[in-house]
Symmetry: D2
Subunit: 336 residues, 4 copies
């Protein structure tokens, strides 16, 4: 159960609600937000009477929630969330194309790619400055230098940029220089980072964990919303299964499911989802066809010389082709 | 390595090739086919000289194959196989819609559904007469009675029918009454059944095993081709992973992969792939978008009263909508 | 719900019970057995009154069963089943060692291995005459010739033999020559074969499917018991997961679970469970430590020249070492 | 390739080695350690001549390493690492028992449990002060208050304590109050945290990630050793698979494998590995039987009232029984 307080509710009124909940034998969890406060009652709360709470001063609404996640749920908010960044509207009428190299490279190469993906239809530029690497001896990204290159990309092309945060320090720097903070697969359950990013005041792109269930993923998003950040974009990027024919198993079944369970927009990363250049375009099509509200794609002017992930990086020409596919797929009837 | 014999090659000439292979220290495996014979040399055979074998009488061609599967491979046959059944051409320019109830039901209901799916655009009717059931006490299908109903469907509607075989006895009966023999998920590695079905003289639809790799699946198909049956259709229907939000995890990554590795047509079964009615249409779209050459869908005039699998069965109206989706998806540019 | 009839119950009395069940709106499933008959009532049957059925003539007992499997369940039979074959008692006080090569080899080699494993403590000999092979061109076993070699092994050593059946034809032959019929991983849900093997009049060793759940496995065993065969041994042999460091992931968690859920004995096959010779002995120990009632191990006098599976086959010396381990592990306190 | 420098090597000598590596066209990665410095050469380095590097001033040894992990590998250090904490020696002749509640509870209860597990044979006490929780509204641990309770436990019982760190802030506090820092499953690839913990000057217990491969796990440990921390204990706690009969699938196959690949000690957590109280003891036995060098077990004086994870928490009596099992299992012959 979630008790939503009025925007004008005083701190005292919030405490009043919490006391009432305690008096009924339950533990209230305060969920502070930028524009409103909510009080969450967890556990089996059939015994908590909604009308009684609704009559308390400062209470706007009481919502029953049957899922372990609440603020991200359609039960709490029926209308779809739109996350607007520059000219991109995630959750808007047209799926958003996000493109760029795996890692930030030299200024010249990075800018060249950015101009090309913009011309091809991208509304957001992506590139990693901080790379979480399985091996301690692998290239770990250009770090702050990469962030400056990304800032330059935005200045020169007008494209907003998304890049990954890997800890509190990088979160601060990224929040300063980038437009969207990406939380990567390996950090989806780094709850300390989620809390920090939730307070950063910038939209967040939350990738699904390597073997996360839908419930775990939505609860990770709940951490962000519970900190008052409602501009959250979910990103399916494939999960780990017994399969060896692709880097990951792209689980497109979640696209229509997430759209039913949550009001948050969902995008798909087919580059990591298959891990092989040749199959990125077919899977990009499939993602859009089943309702993805955007695509996150690794693109390079010369994929074979990319700093990282070259084997799953497509050319600018293929990215343009995906933009053409999007046109045709846009003619499909809306579902439900 | 695969030694393809001339159509007119004599048995003696085949033995000559086998002896030559043995003389080189390898074991030949004869692969008899309806229209031609091939001799397969397995193991590390760099030492076997192709030109030497090509000079033997009766030999048409020697093909190097680097995969564990040979006859199903694009290395052996570059052009795509078309499987024609009635008006349906699997592997042809238009994806084939296959629809019908999970199980054969009463004559009246089954016929009613068949007329509807035909009107909606289906070119093949599907329904199970023999149902492999996890629980020995579950409804196991109508058996031979069901086959008679399917024969009636074909007679009344002109639609060819596909239905599952579960053992040698049912294979004989199904081959007599149906147009396509389906080998189900649980039997993908029932090699004895594959051999029998490969000799049945009818096209085969081979579902991917519950946790089969692509290599295992193609080798199962190889069993069919090795018996001389080239009319094989592969069917992706989802695999078993840690996910619980869908009955199976539909692995669409295999669609573009299979089209590159094999000349056989591939279709997708989104009904089993998600297991939930609401998500069948989005996943049907995704399957077509990434290159599936057909769809196998559970459809019913009244899904809630279906004999089995009702929760993943869609209405005729939704099936019609998928046919409309197919029109639009048909406008996508062909890939590679 | 399961209605157990008296041993002396007449056919008429059985029909009376079935009619009574139908009158209540449920479908009875007759479960004939060698020594008794049972009638199974499936579906939500709170409305079926046990006392009413118990008063019908010929009824011995009515048992409520909450699982999808019934005859294999501890709810139906509290005491543990003992499967006795020669000197081996599966489910008895001492875990049974089963050893031998993957495939039957020449008479001389097979006999030599059999004498050695017997001396080391094996009570049953194992070797495959019919090999289900992923690749159609791989060695498929010696077939009937192998069965004759196995019969010779029994004659010369006194050891009972277990070997795999792969279809109805091999089931007939194996039932004639062998003491225990093995149903392999790929056939665990070959229900037609299960029914046939259930009627073969010989004990059955049922391997767990590649990605079978415990419920599916027990229901596969239920097929055997429903045919009247109560001498069933379950065998855990590893399941398919994302792991690549071992051929399969040996799921020892099932050992104590199966012992609680079912009265059937459970053995473990560490050879397939890890797929690497060096780790067979540690995992054999682990299996016995957590309650396995036997081990199925691939042993050879010269593993490197084994016809198949050499890399997971241990030497006779290691097999002797496992027999010594068993002594020590036998001193562990019995658990509940 | 790893170039190990002398303890007395100067910074200048290290730079000399790095320059020599660069001159050969490779990128050196310096791996500073408390007692020694190493320079790592990655990539295909057949062209780098070991003898040439060995002749450079300050170089002690050049080691070829074929795995992606180096410092954790047996190739680099043949002898097994012993991690000594209080009376516990991980990697010593006797497996170490670690016991305690899932979460730190009240001082009184926590102390009571600690006295009991010590009496039963535990050499280390475990309890979580910071709990990484899937749901933002779940109990997140007592935090710093919990750490004070743990410090009290150590003072009163003499037992060293292990507890989880979840971010940089908690790492500092835990390093101050606890004896072993645990990195949990969800943070195994939180590389920023690994670097911090690697520099904390305390032994680290590194749990395997939810779906981590052995290579990924060892590379995570490599992050710790690369920071100069050699006191690392690996902990298998089950992985995520399609199975639903246990909370996780305990992958004991890794125990003998890790002992062969790495010199680091490995312990097993059967509590999370099965998630069900009744099966903890059998799996604890299995873990010891296959070579685990310690057990991490959730124990409580009153499991049903535990603050968290009660369903997988065993009683003190069962913990005592596991200590008795350890005695018997200690009589098994050492393997390889």
């Amino acid at each position: 159960m979630l008790v939503i307080m009025d925007n004008q509710a005083t701190e005292e009124q919030c405490h009043g609600v919490e006391d009432a909940i305690r008096a009924l034998g339950f533990e209230p969890v305060s969920v502070p937000g930028a524009g409103r406060t909510a009080v969450c009652v967890t556990g089996n709360n059939d015994r908590v009477s909604a009308p009684m709470l609704e009559r308390l001063p400062g209470v706007k609404q009481v919502i029953h929630v049957t899922q372990p996640y609440k603020l991200v749920s359609r039960e709490v908010r029926g209308s779809s969330t739109k996350v607007t960044v520059g000219d991109a509207v995630f959750g808007g009428p047209e799926p958003v194309l996000v493109g760029g190299p795996c890692s930030v490279e030299t200024e010249a190469r990075t800018l060249a790619i950015a101009h090309k993906v913009k011309a091809a239809g991208a509304k957001v530029f992506r590139a990693g400055a901080y790379k979480p690497r399985t091996n301690p001896y692998s290239f770990q990204g250009l770090g702050e230098e990469g962030l400056h290159t990304l800032a330059l990309v935005r200045e020169e092309t007008g494209l907003p940029v998304v890049t990954e945060v890997i800890d509190h320090d990088s979160a601060d720097l990224v929040a300063e220089h980038a437009d969207i903070l990406q939380v990567g697969t390996r950090n989806m359950q780094n709850f300390s980072l989620l809390k920090r990013v939730g307070r950063a005041g910038k939209p967040v792109l939350l990738k699904r964990g390597m073997s996360a269930t839908v419930e775990e993923w939505l609860q990770a998003a709940e951490y962000l919303l519970a900190e008052g950040n409602e501009d959250v974009i979910l990103c399916e990027r494939g999960v780990r299964t017994y399969n060896r024919h692709s880097r990951n198993t792209l689980d497109l079944n979640v696209v229509p499911l997430i759209r039913r369970l949550s009001h948050l927009p969902i995008v798909v990363d087919p580059s990591h989802g298959v891990g092989q250049r040749e199959r990125v375009r077919p899977m990009a099509r499939a993602a859009l066809a089943c309702g993805a509200q955007g695509l996150l794609i690794e693109v390079h002017t010369d994929p074979d010389t990319a700093y990282s992930d070259g084997s799953q990086t497509i050319t600018v020409e293929e990215f343009e082709a995906i933009a053409r596919d999007r046109e045709i797929l846009g003619r499909l009837e809306p579902i439900g």
